[in-house]
């Protein structure tokens, strides 16, 4: 039995490694974003594949966060934003009036730099998403909450205090709660905007482990300024610089044999 299982896994891994086999979740073509007159993203072409972790790296101000926020259109909450180009999510154009943002965001979760649980109980935080998307049944909500917290590796730590404030949790637990809150809406993608930059190393490690487990169910795009993190957890990496994509490749390739000298300089810490 175990042998068969091992072999299956090996075959699975082999198939996973085949780039072409992957289905794209996000396809970006010629994306430009301006904040007022400042040109934040220039002609971005990038594909994010299903059930992969795509890391977006680059120095501060390179546009990596802007790109991530374009994917769930949170970028539009800033003032004076202009967007041109084409972004599709599972084959559907998402920019402009093509898709209601609420619908898009009900399929795409986001985890922010600083943990931002709502000032409600742990339970209510996780149940928030399902509730606004129309799930009223108490039993169903209970199941979703437990399931999401288990997936976020938080259940054992909080099962006895589900109805206590989320702000009684540590920073790392809060961030995992925010991930559980995303998982509760059963998203196709989770966007993570430097999710561990406000956490201590132990909490960071736990979040990274969590990413490694949930990527079997959900596609992840993660912005990070930590290159070790990108190399540890991601399958593919895109390097942004001054609002442009310099290089995007399999993580192992990009970190070992980068094509562009600027990528090489950045990953070796010569700037940024």
């Amino acid at each position: 039995m175990t042998l068969i299982k091992d072999r299956k896994e090996k075959i699975g891994l082999h198939v996973m490694k085949n780039e072409n086999w992957k289905k794209p979740v996000y396809e970006t073509n010629g994306l430009n974003v301006w904040y007022g007159t400042s040109h934040a993203l220039k002609n971005i072409d990038l594909t994010i594949n299903e059930k992969e972790v795509t890391a977006i790296i680059g120095p501060s101000g390179c546009g990596k966060s802007t790109y991530l926020k374009t994917l769930n259109r949170m970028v539009e909450t800033a003032r004076d934003v202009h967007i041109s180009g084409n972004v599709t999510f599972m084959g559907n154009a998402i920019l402009g009036k093509a898709m209601p943002v609420e619908l898009l965001r009900s399929k795409v979760g986001m985890v922010f730099q600083k943990p931002n649980p709502f000032p409600k109980s742990i339970y209510e935080n996780v149940a928030f998403g399902p509730r606004i998307h129309g799930i009223r049944n108490k039993v169903m909500l209970d199941v979703i909450v437990e399931d999401s917290l288990r997936k976020a590796a938080l259940w054992d730590e909080v099962k006895d205090r589900l109805h206590k404030s989320a702000y009684g949790l540590s920073g790392g637990q809060q961030q995992r709660l925010c991930i559980a809150r995303c998982l509760a809406i059963d998203p196709e993608v989770i966007l993570m905007d430097e999710p561990t930059s406000a956490l201590d190393p132990v909490s960071t490690h736990k979040v990274e482990e969590l990413i490694a487990t949930i990527k079997n169910d959900v596609t992840i795009a993660i912005v990070t300024h930590n290159m070790q993190q990108a190399s540890r957890i991601s399958d593919r990496t895109a390097f942004f610089l001054n609002g442009e994509i310099v290089e995007c490749d399999r993580t192992s390739t990009l970190f070992s044999t980068p094509e562009d000298s600027r990528t090489n300089d950045y990953i070796n810490g010569r700037f940024g």
């Binding site: 909450t77 986001m110 709502f118 000032p119 409600k120 998403g129 606004i132 404030s165 809150r181």
Partner: protein, 312 residues
């Protein structure tokens, strides 16, 4: 290292002397401030003392339970004056209730619009206009109630008396509106943007975000703004004196003339009740009751604000 020249020594001495002078003055400052602060506290204590003293004398004339539970207020009756405060209390509550029914929904709607929907530009125009309402003297509100709101309401409710609780209550509601708008809006705006982002990112609309995340997070501030506004409505004098009449009424009718605690005090204080009479002392008893009311409400507002604040 060169030795210090005599002139430089002088300068050093001057500098030290000046510093010492500043230090002496600096040490004096807290004492001066303490004296000024004590004056404020003394004034408060003095007012409470006067109120209590005269109230005490009133209760040597009239039984406490007759005052607190009496349903007839007829101090000017020649035959059998009655000092049951309930009609005044009910009159006050009618005003406060009507005022809150107007001010709470409208005020909260304004506050939500300003904090969640309005662009900074719109907010910059609208907020000062609403706050302008707070600058209007209450006597003007009183005239507005008497000469505009009452005649207008009479076209809708023909049985409405010239002096009535309804129009006075509505106008008191308009008066306390800026308080609710301003304080609630502050409470809503103080809710961190990260909560809104979290809710938007899960697919909530602006309205869902406002109702399910922002308002619950600001509920202590909103509740305390409502209680403070209620306390202001209870203490409001000029509007009710002008527009609500001076007939103590122990009923739940809003269309007729009433008398509130405050307007009774005005009636006596501006009339010619002799010093030392029961009527004279009665205004202190009513005043004390009013004080107790608003004091408790203010304390409640403070309690609600600290106790129910959500920690984040």
């Amino acid at each position: 290292m060169s030795s210090i020249q005599p002139s430089e020594k002088m300068r050093t001495r001057d500098v030290i002397a000046a510093a010492k002078k500043r230090e002496r003055f600096g040490k004096l400052v807290p004492h001066i401030l303490l004296v000024v602060t004590s004056l404020t506290v003394l004034a408060t204590l003095g007012i409470v003392y006067t109120l209590l003293k005269e109230t005490f004398i009133f209760f040597t004339h009239i039984n406490v339970s007759d005052f607190v539970f009496g349903t007839e207020w007829a101090p000017f009756s020649n035959g059998s004056p009655a000092f049951g405060v309930l009609p005044l209390l009910i009159g006050t509550l009618k005003i406060a209730l009507v005022a809150l029914l107007i001010a709470v929904p409208v005020g909260l709607a304004c506050a939500i619009f300003l904090s969640e929907y309005a662009s900074p530009k719109v907010k910059k125009i609208i907020k000062p206009i609403i706050e302008l309402l707070a600058g209007i003297p209450t006597i003007v509100y009183g005239f507005f109630a008497l000469t505009f709101v009452t005649p207008f309401l009479q076209t809708l409710i023909p049985s409405l008396k010239l002096f009535n609780a309804l129009s006075a209550g509505i106008v008191v509601g308009i008066m306390i509106l800026p308080m609710i708008v301003s304080l609630s809006e502050d409470a809503l705006s103080a809710v961190p943007a990260t909560f809104r982002e979290g809710a938007y990112a899960l697919g909530s609309t602006r309205f869902e975000t406002a109702i399910k995340v922002v308002i619950p997070a600001a509920v202590s501030g909103i509740a305390s703004s409502i209680i403070l506004a209620a306390s202001r409505a209870v203490g409001e004098t000029m509007i009710v004196s002008l527009a609500a009449g001076s007939t103590p009424a122990f009923n739940l009718d809003l269309t007729g003339s009433i008398q509130t605690m405050t307007s009774y005090i005005v009636q006596v204080a501006t009339g010619d009740a002799g010093y030392g009479t029961t009527i004279y002392y009665s205004i202190y008893a009513v005043g004390f009751m009013l004080f107790l009311f608003t004091f408790l409400m203010n304390r409640t507002a403070l309690y609600v604000k600290t106790k129910f604040r959500e920690d984040y």
